[in-house]
Symmetry: C2
Subunit: 203 residues, 2 copies
């Protein structure tokens, strides 16, 4: 009985290539390919998938939320996250969302099928380096609002822009940015945003 696998990744080329790679394995069957997170849970149910392989960065519903949706809709289906960026915060939140495994896209291709099998057997698959990082830097020190404001700041607008988009006064925005800078250790809002981004604290 082969493992029924659903693959979601926004880059069609990568998605197709991963499907081709895993389709070569005799014990794995790719039953669905998706380009965003919105339809994943439904596809898992429809195809009675055993494992869902999800990218974290996706348009529509992000991989973390999609993982949670899958767990709710089909508790027997395991989730394996596959991501470009090995961000501590992503790992932590993926696990909290019910993922069983977390691999970065620069692990050797040979290990991928093995990761799928392990996850299918109920084991956890986590990059050890990332797991260690996640222990020290995993939790976001930012409050929800601080995160929101910092995220709004990350594409370079002025305080006035951020205030408008977050429905806050300019002074409040500056206060949140100041707090975020203190907590992240950044000396400008841009630096703070970059640090938070790298740690997977934004989304």
């Amino acid at each position: 009985m082969s493992i029924r696998l659903v693959i979601a990744d926004d880059q069609a080329l990568v998605r197709g290539a991963l499907a081709a790679l895993l389709g070569l394995e005799p014990d794995i069957e790719v039953v669905a390919e998706l380009g965003d997170g919105t339809g994943v849970a439904a596809a898992v149910v429809e195809h009675r998938a055993d494992v869902a392989m999800l990218d974290v960065e996706m348009p529509g519903l992000d991989g973390i939320s999609a993982a949670a949706a899958v767990r709710r809709a089909a508790p027997s289906c395991r989730v394996l996250m596959v991501t470009t960026f090995g961000r501590p915060g992503y790992l932590k939140r993926a696990m909290q969302a019910g993922a069983s495994g977390f691999v970065v896209k620069d692990t050797p291709a040979r290990q991928l099928a093995e990761a799928v099998r392990r996850v299918h057997q109920g084991l956890r698959v986590v990059d050890p380096v990332l797991a260690a990082e996640s222990l020290t830097a995993g939790d976001s020190p930012l409050t929800e609002r601080e995160g929101e404001v910092l995220k709004a700041a990350s594409d370079g607008g002025t305080v006035a822009d951020i205030a408008k988009s977050a429905m806050l006064s300019e002074g409040t925005v500056r206060n949140y940015l100041s707090a975020a800078m203190a907590k992240t250790g950044g000396r400008t809002r841009a630096e703070a945003a970059r640090i938070a981004e790298d740690n997977g604290w934004l989304l």
Copy 2:
């Protein structure tokens, strides 16, 4: 006689998956896989490759420079760029560096093998949407120094940081940033950096 292909992409999983996908084609033979740009030209020569498939974003030598190196070392080898980001400036510079094709990673997987074949036959393969964009926004309006400074600014440091890293006075840095903001249309240096980045003007 099958097409001898060299693949370079920094993400091992993607690289392996692409190799698997293309390896399924009867007329394509993957003769080498690289994780960065530095060894590409040598590998092309060593394996007498017909086509080199290069990612733009790579550690060490970036894909554009690697393309130029390949053309110098083996003029008969065609270059197909494969990239995550469809940035007009990348396309333009890739073509100037001697690439024959440019596809983004969210084109359907089926078309990839076809793109390789077309490139091998001496045809050009370019996403039409991107080609159009490249006509309007392709050329960087920034001077070399402006680009350098903007790039240095893009990870969020202060003017003092940038001045130190570029060996310039703070006033000069501010002048360059000001010029870059005027040319890109950004209202802050962060926005200018984002715009330049999106257009493929930095690197």
